[in-house]
Symmetry: C2
Subunit: 205 residues, 2 copies
């Protein structure tokens, strides 16, 4: 198909497709003349994947490139798959980052240095700083309830990783990690509205 | 204190503080001369709150303004508090949005039109589209496990809302909703690393 047909098939504007080609997120088509190329289903699939990573997961162009490269070159170890996904969405922490505000949680839930990376530990510290900066006092019991819920879904995430092929495992881990985040947040908001309606809605209406 | 001292106390640059003043996110100080104003602890608290909303929760300037306005003018109904927070982080859905891709989840978990708003239902549809666009097949059992975990933490969120004052309830709902999202995502990543290490790490090392 021509680029205009590729745009129609994916509902992505031609200018955006050309931008992804220039940025090497999308592979070139087969040249059929000096100014025209032919594209196929592999371009449609790739464009949908790019759109999900940028539009749904909210990744930057450079994080998207990192993730796509990682997916094309799966690491030897299954455990390292997760690093590709997490690295794309986690800021690099300074060497001297102080983890003590999260120490109780890290210790209590087994998220120490032997299993977890420092940048992700620092992301939890940052998030907790945001709470205390805003004067929001999150009780330890509430944080533990969050941690227990996350332990449960993370177990489900990891159990569901296919073991038949490295390629399938990689897609599953990277996409499941990044694209389930917006699902999770939308579900939390729906569940909050439902719980709030139960507690406050009926008495006042 | 002077604006330079306010900057030192909050570690926010003077130019950024002036920007927040122009954007009316931060209230003016008391003028002490034609070119100088005096600021107090209320400005420090407000700046920390603004930083948490923009830096930690990732809100835009206009969403931050909406949230701050909502916090200053709490709605009559406790249930509507949640709307202020959710509205700031949820795109407005088109009138003709098709909710059918999420219908099973909405029905099964009690997230229908009587308790939940349409924009948040549409956010779940968008997130599910992202998964299918990327060719990621999320089994219904996995989505249900996510939903169950979110129901549990949403119940904890709503139970923890204080009922002694409208002002306290409002702060709690708005900040707890927005600022706990990054906590949740950081915890999920840590829990995934820990679970992945249990499943894949030891056998290969």
């Amino acid at each position: 198909m021509r680029i205009s047909q590729l745009a129609a098939a994916t509902e992505i504007p031609v200018a955006t497709i050309k931008y992804y080609l220039r940025e090497k997120l999308l592979h070139e088509g087969v040249l059929t003349s000096a100014t025209q190329a032919r594209y196929d289903d592999s371009h449609v699939r790739r464009l949908k994947l790019i759109r999900a990573l940028i539009g749904t997961a909210g990744l930057s162009i450079s994080a998207t490139r990192q993730v796509l490269l990682g997916m094309e070159n799966p690491p030897e170890s299954r455990h390292d798959l997760l690093g590709i996904a997490h690295h794309a969405v986690t800021r690099t922490a300074p060497d001297d980052v102080d983890l003590s505000p999260a120490q109780r949680l890290l210790d209590r839930w087994g998220w120490g240095a032997e299993t977890c990376d420092r940048d992700t530990q620092a992301a939890l510290v940052d998030a907790l700083h945001g709470l205390s900066d805003a004067g929001f006092d999150a009780p330890a019991a509430l944080l533990d309830r969050y941690a227990a819920a996350m332990r449960d879904i993370a177990a489900a995430d990891v159990e569901s990783v296919p073991t038949d092929s490295a390629e399938a495992a990689m897609r599953h881990v990277v996409l499941g990690t990044l694209l389930m985040e917006p699902v999770l947040l939308a579900m939390r908001r729906l569940a909050q509205q439902s719980a709030s309606f139960q507690r406050f809605g009926e008495a006042e209406s």
